[in-house]
Assembly symmetry: C2
Homo-oligomer: 617 residues x 2
């Protein structure tokens, strides 16, 4: 099936996205307007992204001493994306936005991701500007956010530092008031920032006239010391080039200097940088420190940043998913066209040996059962992950536009599901990419085929936007406990509702029972993990817990998708329906049983790893 | 633990390799001579291989129109390796060999593999020459094999063709007699070969004065047609440059032309080529076809080639293993030195939330339980795989030098274990490399650290020397059935012997029971898979079968290693002993339970994949 047909089924037949048009915010929309957005994005991605995916891998960004050099294709892809209007898809009409549901926006962005994941970093720019629309002053919105939405400028998120990768409490970038009257600057309270930021995507380039950095930093207390922990963190706008209140460049370079480009395993279309703020290379008005404007309240920086966290993490889950599907489509095409080998035949004359008749012509490799297994695994991982991520994207819409009870449920479900939406595709769609290589045999190991790049690109997704380990701690250490476990109960309720419907369908009853058992097992393991009340006991096996939790969620998603499939095509008259039922069965037969091994160590609070002495490694 | 200390334990304490010196062939050896070889190889690998592993990745081989260009480091590494004498380690003293047991040779080669897997392709040269010592004529041994052993020339294996990757029955390279008297050539019956060979490692370069290609080709029948299937395949020596009976170059280039270098994901220190034989670029004596000399009997080419198959596949298993351990050592070093984050603490005031005290200094990441988990997984995979491969290497020695009954048992055990020795490390030590990246966080995704290269290099091992799917078909379709299932029974006997010893040791009894259960499950699944007698039913899930089989074998190896550990250090006074017991426990707690999910689809002959219609993908 094509990506478009899969998206159409999931969005409209499964998630009923068109029902969102009954909400005031989306009232001017219809399935037709949604489709028009999808059509446009599919076309731009096909024309401006897909042909250049290998180009941006080969022509890695480099710094010539003055500027960061990127391939011409990147400029053109960015221009086309900005012109599509997607940068401000979620925004109000009055600021030039589309008031598009997030579920549709996510689906639209999937075309770019499957075509070339790294050619743009537009989601960062959107995320940056969306954040400013919520937490910024009027002037900050007008000057910074709107110029990001219209494509003139781009945005970054500057969180990590060399000594503080995943540990934001150790942020050491300092922000001090910029002289008398610092609070009166029309662009926001004006500070001077000094510090180094690591892993900054799109941190420097010439793609846009200016770059709007959103920077986490700490304002020293009266004693001049930084407050330990995350409570001391504030958020600042630090433009690469200073601007006036009209959004015009003043001609003054801010003191933000590129300290280095990271040379990566993949995802090479996007620059990744080490930036030095206030090191003195570009002093402003002869004073130390990069100029930054406070966003929101002092000490509330993480709060502002985490506001966008669910969407950012769903974005990573979608990226991983689309790389998984890209490999699936590529290996499916290869398997349909590559002749090699012959089917095994029954034993002759009672001999057990496997017989192949070399006088027969070779068959296409898609006819081999093991190749089918590798294709079906990819389909099951990729389409399952896509369904989960679109489900979560629609929850974002429910949270923003549903009635109070609906919105609150959506919020809580998102809290529990976001670690899965981010982690599960990043692990299993990476495995899908490995299977895509395997189907290609030796050819898959060469750079003449795209699959090795997908695999390299996808390896990032378990690392950025919160590592696998951090997602697992978030899930088992926070999300399943919060509000007295209400999020987990809500999710269990949704899963049980699907089970109750499926158990009445003969083709699904066994799977419904298997899912019910899995849900019980996850619930029991959650309790067992926390039986001592000690985080160190519970969280030692947080990752296996998350793997089992994720597989259970995916089994639920597949069962629910199967119900929607049968509701639409009970006779399975269409190949797409047969395919979805097969993808569901694969997941229940080959994947769901794996949770037993993962949960066993969780339930017993296995201390093999935690108690292992360092000197014994 | 260092690689050397692990090798010492496995070779001497576990496998009792020194007992081999009681055999006539190895009578001049002692632990001291073995150690001297290990010392030498460890030193050469440290000096000539390790410092250049990234160099050969960056300075990929390229063809300047005349010659293949390789980094200078590759020349020096090859020279040092040849001077070590390891190329002929297995050979008789009288031809300059060491008469070294294969187990010790494999251990010695592991130092090169861990330092830089792709810088040399010496195992191919050894394998080529060793084959000629068994199947070649006296003249072929003297002229070709001995000049490979002494380092003057190198060797290749030319099996695959562009249209026949894994399917050797479709080899289309033709070999026709080279005129009257072709059988009288002193170097062997002389043929002219025409055809294309793909994926030829070290197929062209200037590292050695000459290259000795061993080429599979078919001699047409009287009707001029090639016999379908593998029976028609013969083996030929095709030197890049023609030589006389003294081994001197005649100055005549043979008609072997480099048609292309493959540009690979990893393993870039070794050229990989498409070679055209007899395309007419270098005509010899004005006639068509590359000159080749028949090795062994016509039609017995695969028999000659497969003679070396077990050792070649163990070689790949060792390569995958050493890449896994290289990543383990690198990430262990990183985890010991990188400060980041703080340990989780118990809840305060009854609140369930996880507490971290930001005022405390950061800890090194090795103190985090999840990092320990990722390290212990790598240790358990890598050291377990090393143990299995050394066990198989010693079986090669038993096969060659044991008494008749021992040799026959060793042969049969090797038949069953070789698919595991090759496939298991290539899958799970690749996973280990992914964990090594994960431990490094963002740094692991950059080319500033070695782990991303290990991961790329290791991805090859599931593909070459028989893909994962082919190993699985070999295991379930042939090896567990052959000789009435005697190989499987032999292996079960060995596993049960370990279980019987372990069950008497309190610390191991539970694991012994778990292994006994796993062995029963694998046996039952084997029967169930073949219950219909139809290969198509049995083999549809051959890969999950192989995964479960492999995990059971690895659990056995770990349990046996644990017995040897306790035999030497019952009080676990040494960190190394504690480490091995932890590695064993990890495997039994976290890994062995996974076999249930794999075997379920085997036992039910699950047809979800095989029956999936192509149009539904």
């Amino acid at each position: 099936m094509t990506l478009r047909s899969t998206l159409d089924f999931l969005l409209y037949d499964w998630l009923d996205a068109q029902s969102l048009t009954a909400r005031t915010r989306f009232a001017d929309h219809s399935r037709e307007t949604f489709d028009a957005v999808l059509d446009t994005c599919e076309r731009i991605a096909r024309e401006k992204y897909a042909p250049f995916n290998r180009t941006v891998d080969i022509e890695e960004p480099h710094f010539d001493g003055e500027k960061v050099i990127l391939p011409q294709a990147t400029y053109e892809a960015r221009k086309a994306y900005a012109e599509s209007g997607l940068l401000s898809a979620a925004q109000d009409y009055e600021v030039g936005g589309m008031q598009l549901p997030y579920a549709v926006e996510a689906a639209a962005n999937s075309f770019f991701a499957v075509a070339s994941i790294s050619i743009g970093s537009n989601l960062l720019t959107s995320g940056n500007a969306n954040l400013l629309m919520v937490h910024g002053t009027e002037a900050q919105k007008q000057v910074f956010a709107l110029n990001e939405f219209n494509g003139r400028w781009s945005g970054t998120m500057c969180l990590s530092e060399p000594q503080a990768g995943s540990s934001l409490s150790d942020v050491a970038t300092r922000a001090v008031p910029d002289g008398d009257g610092f609070e009166a600057d029309p662009l926001g309270a004006r500070y001077r920032l000094t510090g180094n930021k690591m892993w900054i995507s799109s941190g420097d380039h010439e793609l846009t006239e200016n770059i709007v950095h959103l920077v986490l930093a700490k304002i020293p207390g009266p004693d001049g010391k930084l407050v330990p922990g995350t409570k001391g963190i504030s958020l600042f706008i630090v433009p690469k080039k200073l601007v006036d209140t009209e959004g015009k460049l003043t001609g003054v370079r801010n003191d933000v200097a590129l300290a280095g480009l990271n040379h990566k395993l993949g995802w090479r279309g996007t620059t990744n940088t080490l930036l030095n703020f206030g090191e003195g290379r570009f002093p402003v008005e002869g004073k130390a420190g990069a100029v930054g404007y406070l966003v929101g309240q002092p000490g509330k920086g993480l709060h502002c940043m985490f506001h966008m966290m669910n969407e950012a993490r769903i974005g990573i889950g979608m990226a991983a998913t689309m790389l998984g599907l890209a490999g699936y489509y590529a290996s499916l095409d290869y398997a349909r066209n590559r002749p090699q080998g012959r089917p095994v035949q029954g034993p002759k004359d009672g001999a057990a040996a496997v017989v192949k008749d070399a006088a027969q012509p070779q068959v296409r490799i898609i006819e081999h059962a093991d190749v089918k297994r590798m294709l079906l695994a990819q389909k099951s991982y990729g389409e399952g992950a896509l369904a989960l991520n679109l489900f979560c994207a629609k929850l974002v819409d429910e949270q923003h536009t549903g009635d109070a009870a609906t919105a609150d449920e959506a919020r809580l479900l998102l809290e529990v599901l976001t670690p899965i939406a981010k982690s599960w595709p990043s692990e299993f769609c990476l495995e899908a990419n490995s299977l895509a290589i395997q189907i290609h045999g030796g050819y898959g190991y060469t750079r003449d085929f795209p699959v090795e790049q997908y695999w390299r690109d996808n390896r990032l997704n378990m690392i950025h936007e919160g590592t696998h380990g951090i997602q697992a701690m978030d899930l088992l250490g926070r999300k399943v406990l919060m509000e007295g476990g209400r999020g987990l109960q809500l999710l269990a309720g949704r899963i049980n509702a699907t089970i109750e419907r499926a158990i009445q369908v003969p083709a699904l009853a066994a799977h419904a029972n298997a899912l019910g058992k899995a849900l019980q097992d996850v619930g029991a393991a959650t309790k067992a993990a926390w039986a001592t009340g000690q985080p160190a006991d519970a969280l030692a096996n947080a990752v296996p817990y998350m793997q089992a939790f994720g597989h259970t969620v995916l089994a639920w998603v597949w069962l629910d998708v199967a119900l929607a499939t049968l509701a639409r095509d009970a006779d399975l008259a269409q190949p797409a329906s047969v395919g979805r039922m097969g993808g569901m069965r694969f997941f229940f037969h080959y994947e769901l049983p794996k949770i037993g091994a993962w949960l066993q160590v969780v339930s017993t609070r296995d201390a093999t790893c935690a108690a292992f002495p360092e000197e014994a490694f």
